[in-house]
């Protein structure tokens, strides 16, 4: 019963959150927790990432030797990264009413945990992780990925 209820809610939830005006940068998620050194680069400015920091499309998120960070996005997707990691949120569009959905994250080094949200549920083919050696396509899921070695 509970599971059915939850499923029903998540199905409904798809239609529940739109994004702001197309030209205005809109908040796509929020940093929920951090440890160690974390920075977010937006346009040309770099700010420290702390719990509560808003996240926007095209943000570059980096952690130092002991850094870690967790973000929950508007659609309920979650990303967490470990030390010495660099990711870029290349694309995030969550406008289910207009059937506009996409989520593309680039990881150039380090470790990352992903737990899918509504975007991956509705548009699995529009959700991907780009790495220096290959692309990860998502079919509603949870995974960890490591980009290591000499790749940059």
């Amino acid at each position: 019963m509970m599971r059915r209820l939850l499923k029903a809610i998540s199905v409904l939830w798809l239609a529940s959150v739109g994004i702001g005006a197309a030209d205005e940068p809109s908040v796509i998620g929020r940093v929920k927790n951090t440890g160690g050194q974390v920075s977010i680069t937006r346009q040309s400015a770099t700010i420290p990432g702390t719990a509560g920091t808003e996240v926007f499309q095209n943000d570059v998120i980096q952690t130092g030797d002991d850094g870690s960070l967790g973000v929950t996005f508007k659609d309920g997707s979650r990303i967490a990264i470990g030390p010495k990691t660099r990711i870029v949120i290349d694309e995030y569009v969550f406008a289910p009413r207009e059937e506009k959905l996409s989520f593309v994250t680039r990881i150039t080094r380090g470790t990352l945990l992903y737990v899918s949200g509504t975007i991956a549920k509705l548009a699995p083919d529009k959700t991907s992780f780009v790495t220096p050696s290959g692309t990860i396509g998502v079919r509603g899921t949870k995974f960890v990925v490591k980009v290591g070695g000499n790749q940059s």
Binding site: L12, W13, V17, R30, T72, S133, I136, R139
Partner: protein, 194 residues
């Protein structure tokens, strides 16, 4: 002999635990179903459909089993930084009102608890109606319901600044019906605490 050498070279390439430098591991998901990932790279395409299986990011090859310990060792910091799973609530209303049913009223403390469990919560409160009545009327009724719930959770301790209120009127029924149909399960507010 040549074969033995090949295997040795391969082992070196793959590193101590048999994994390449860059790889993805499918994990079991809360609630059972674990989905799948597909890796596409220079060396082809690999699908991982079973949890605790790993594949290199260049694609190609067969997924390998990875132990929980290995995952914990490599990804422990990232795993520990994972935000809580969003909590979802549906609260139901009496017909044509912004009055909660007595059962749903009892759930308000659970909403507060979910907010308190999160250091920096975001709360979406979206109102809905059933299909009885005109659209404009239902848009307003759904918004009134959402605002009422927003007020009620603020009254018991949720910071109003973290709440976003919305209305979907009769456009997103939980139980699809023909227009004009009264359906208690569609008279509701949905709350997501992230």
């Amino acid at each position: 002999m040549g074969r033995g050498l090949g295997s040795a070279a391969l082992l070196v390439l793959l590193g101590a635990c048999g994994l390449p430098h860059s790889y993805v591991v499918l994990l079991p998901q809360e609630g059972g179903k674990s989905g799948a990932v597909e890796v596409t790279g220079d060396e082809g395409k690999t699908v991982i459909a079973e949890p605790w299986k790993a594949a290199g990011l260049s694609g190609g090859g067969t997924p390998k089993t990875v132990s929980k310990d290995e995952v914990q060792k490599t990804f422990g910091k990232a795993l520990a930084a994972a935000p809580k799973e969003p909590a979802r609530f549906i609260l139901y209303f009496q017909s044509d009102t912004a009055e909660l049913t007595p059962e749903s009223r009892k759930r308000l403390p659970d909403v507060l608890a979910a907010v308190r469990e999160r250091p920096v919560p975001d709360v979406d409160v979206v109102g809905h109606t059933d299909a009885a009545g005109p659209e404009s009327y239902n848009d307003a009724l759904a918004l009134r319901r959402a605002q009422r719930i927003s007020d009620e959770v603020v009254a018991i301790g949720v910071d109003r600044k973290v709440i976003e209120v919305g209305s979907h009127g009769k456009r997103d029924p939980l139980v699809p019906t023909r227009n004009g149909v009264h359906e208690p399960r569609n008279r509701r507010v949905e709350i997501i605490v992230r």
